[in-house]
């Protein structure tokens, strides 16, 4: 019965399940990556740890639009899919095992919630801006930063409004510049044919639909002005890449070299091929994302504008459904709202972050924006979350 299948887990057990997930992630990390429990560490200030004043710091945030479950990642049987996270990044990171998303589990609205620090309720599939100020607006308004200092790179055309909110005290002119690499690709190439349409298909959650673009998208002529890329170079390089996320990372590198924004937000999407139900492609997406995260970290460390003064955050927007919930279909979707689909993780590494520690207390995904505010020196006054003391 559908109504019963919707109700896969009692609300009273959600917290227990989330705690259990956090505990098992910690144990997996202890055994797999050899990191320590962070609760025994003494507090110290971020400035004392880095010696870098807030005004000079840079932050890069990578979110996955399409979570990955523990059994395909941190659990013993899944660790083979994330060798770079396990061996390279986690040992250098502070890792939070229990990041709970209490909002709507759709990728656009959830990413908007991550970016505002408020559980947004906008239509996941409409071209709408977030209703609350984004981190980019707080950053630019409070710190009087130019538009070129905050950027978003997102693969899905539906994310074109993510850069700035509709909030009357912020909004137009105060947000981040948004690059949609697939949209650039569409503009740079003539297109045509079913494969091309498939590639530009916007959102794995809605496999049939590519919405029309509206709002302040990155215009093609800016390819040359901002990224110093000719259309031909861009097209030629795209022909060597295997996925939209690889294209995004290529654009990010170019952006870091040419614009060096202090606040850079990247949303990956390859993992969300899981919605098509092919398990092997979902696992391929995890492996590619694992590699691309490590590549980006290497770029951060090697670029003079970023090396030594950048903090990198990596987090999925939420999880995916459990195999045990009869209301879902396992890895394919995130529709049940069960503990596995709501509970995810976050790692922070780089400037001012303790290496090789894990915290398994519960925190919420809306805590990210106030934490970035404390790090960079702005006030996320309308965000619902709280700064994460372990990072400050």
């Amino acid at each position: 019965m559908d109504r019963a299948r919707l109700a896969a887990a009692k609300a009273s057990t959600l917290q227990e399940l989330a705690r259990h997930l956090a505990w098992t992630r910690r144990e997996f990390l202890r055994t797999g990556a050899g990191i320590a429990l962070g609760s025994s560490l003494q507090p110290s200030s971020l400035f004392a740890r880095t010696g870098i004043p807030a005004g000079k710091r840079k932050v890069v945030v990578i979110t996955f639009g399409g979570g990955a479950r523990d059994q395909e990642t941190f659990a013993p049987e899944g660790q083979e899919n994330i060798p770079h996270l396990m061996r390279e990044l986690i040992p250098q990171s502070t890792f939070f095992t229990q990041v709970v998303n209490r909002g709507i589990l759709g990728h656009y609205v959830a990413t908007a919630s991550l970016a505002t620090g408020v559980y947004e309720t906008i239509n996941n599939f409409a071209s709408l801006p977030p209703e609350h100020p984004t981190v980019f607006e707080y950053f630019r308004k409070d710190l009087k930063r130019p538009a070129s200092d905050a950027w978003v790179v997102a693969p899905s055309n539906g994310f074109n409004r993510i850069g700035e909110s509709s909030h009357r005290s912020y909004g137009p002119g105060l947000g981040a510049r948004v690059i949609l690499p697939k949209h650039l690709l569409a503009a740079a190439t003539s297109g045509g044919g079913p494969d091309y349409e498939h590639l530009l298909r916007d959102n794995y959650e809605t496999p049939f639909h590519t919405p029309e673009l509206a709002g302040s998208e990155f215009a093609l002529q800016q390819l040359g002005m901002m990224l110093k890329l000719s259309v031909d170079d861009f097209k030629a390089h795209a022909l060597t890449l295997s996925s939209p996320d690889e294209l995004s990372v290529y654009i990010v590198r170019q952006l870091m070299r040419q614009q060096a924004p202090s606040l850079l937000w990247i949303t990956m999407h390859d993992i969300d091929i899981a919605h098509a139900g092919a398990y092997s492609l979902y696992v391929d997406g995890i492996r590619r994302t694992d590699r691309l995260c490590a590549d980006l970290w290497k770029t951060i460390q090697s670029e003079p504008e970023y090396a030594g003064k950048t903090t990198l955050f990596i987090l999925p927007d939420f999880g995916r459904d459990s195999d045990d919930d009869s209301g879902g279909n396992g890895f394919q979707h995130h529709r049940t709202g069960d503990a596995l689909s709501r509970t995810t993780w976050m790692m922070a590494l780089g400037a001012g972050v303790r290496e090789g520690v894990v915290f398994d207390r519960s925190m919420e995904s809306t805590d990210l924006v106030p934490t970035l505010g404390s790090m960079l020196g702005f006030s996320a006054s309308l965000a619902q979350g709280k700064p994460i003391p372990e990072l400050l």
Partner: protein, 401 residues
Amino acid sequence: MLPCDLKPEQFNGYPPEARKLVSRYVSALQRLPLSFLPNLLREVIEYDFKFPAERRALEKELATLNSLSSEQIKDWLQGFAPIRLSSQLEDSDWVNAPGQFVEQLSSHLWSTHQLDAFRTAALAYAGRLRAVVPPQPPPVPRLGITVIGQGVAAHDEPLFRRLRSHGTYFSGVKPDNGFELLLNAVAARAKEHPLPYAHWYIDGGQAAAHDPALTCVSYHALEPVRAALSTKIRIEIRRPGMGPEALRTHLAQLRPADLGLAKAGDAVLDRFQVKMLTEGSGTQIFSTTFAQWTAREALRRAQPLTLLVRFAPRQRQKPMNEMLSASREAAELDPLGSLIDADMGAYYNWLNLQRLTGAEQSSFLVWFEGHNEAIAIGPSLPRGTVSNADAGLEKLLSWAS
């Protein structure tokens, strides 16, 4: 409109059997909260196209609700009472379009942070109903068979990793005529227990010759339907104002005749097949997804006694650079990727079989087609063990049962 305002004539638009069924219970429906009732009506309106197991469950549910006093109704559905609905939902035509109401309700529950409360209420109701009307045990222990790896010559990675702890792994299976043997075995069960929609054969490729006593669904046979659907989708997404939710609603309203599938005569199966393509995600693109989702839905809805699923190679997902090169070559197949998909699909088939009554007596077999690897799970087989005995698939089936 609220449920208390319901009148029998408001169901005149329902299919004949559904109308007849619901007309007996209008007074019971009047007592139900609006946050609950359209979910029930969504099932009722489909009654004419439901499998026997679903019909029985729905009839019992309605009869049970009818038998409850007003106090009992309040008690059973108390979790639904605090759910706040919008005036838009209340004003919608939830009698004639309950499916659309439920879609909008789902969106409303997410955006108003009431989903958890709704889930809790639904779970409590389902528990009450199950206690009063327990599901019937099957007349014979169920049998599930999944065949994976068609077209794969060799594979180095271990298979059945998620299932091994539940049964016995066999490494000396005799593969000769294996699939034919399995088809014969399920056909024999169909003849021995001749119940409608109780014995299924689902093929992710082209169905092999099989006994007509089996309910058969195949990806290949639905190729014209998939093509018709694809054409409709392309037309729809170009319409001004057509968004993902409107498109989903449109697809949910498609009927077999809209896709050229209404001439054969099995209206129930035709409707089921169309739903696999219009409501399943990825079923239109990948045959492995189609086979897994169809098996899941067949188990959930028809609750068969026998289910044989054969996965076939799906089309290869082209990397971005190939898509950009705009090649017009026909899609290649991806046998190895499909084997990994099917290995997971087999696990899901077993999980879904376990959710049916009589699970402790059911048996399950997965075979790597054409090879000597299989895993068998059943009440008389040890768990987490390995056997290198030379044995045919018939023998494995007999050991598992």
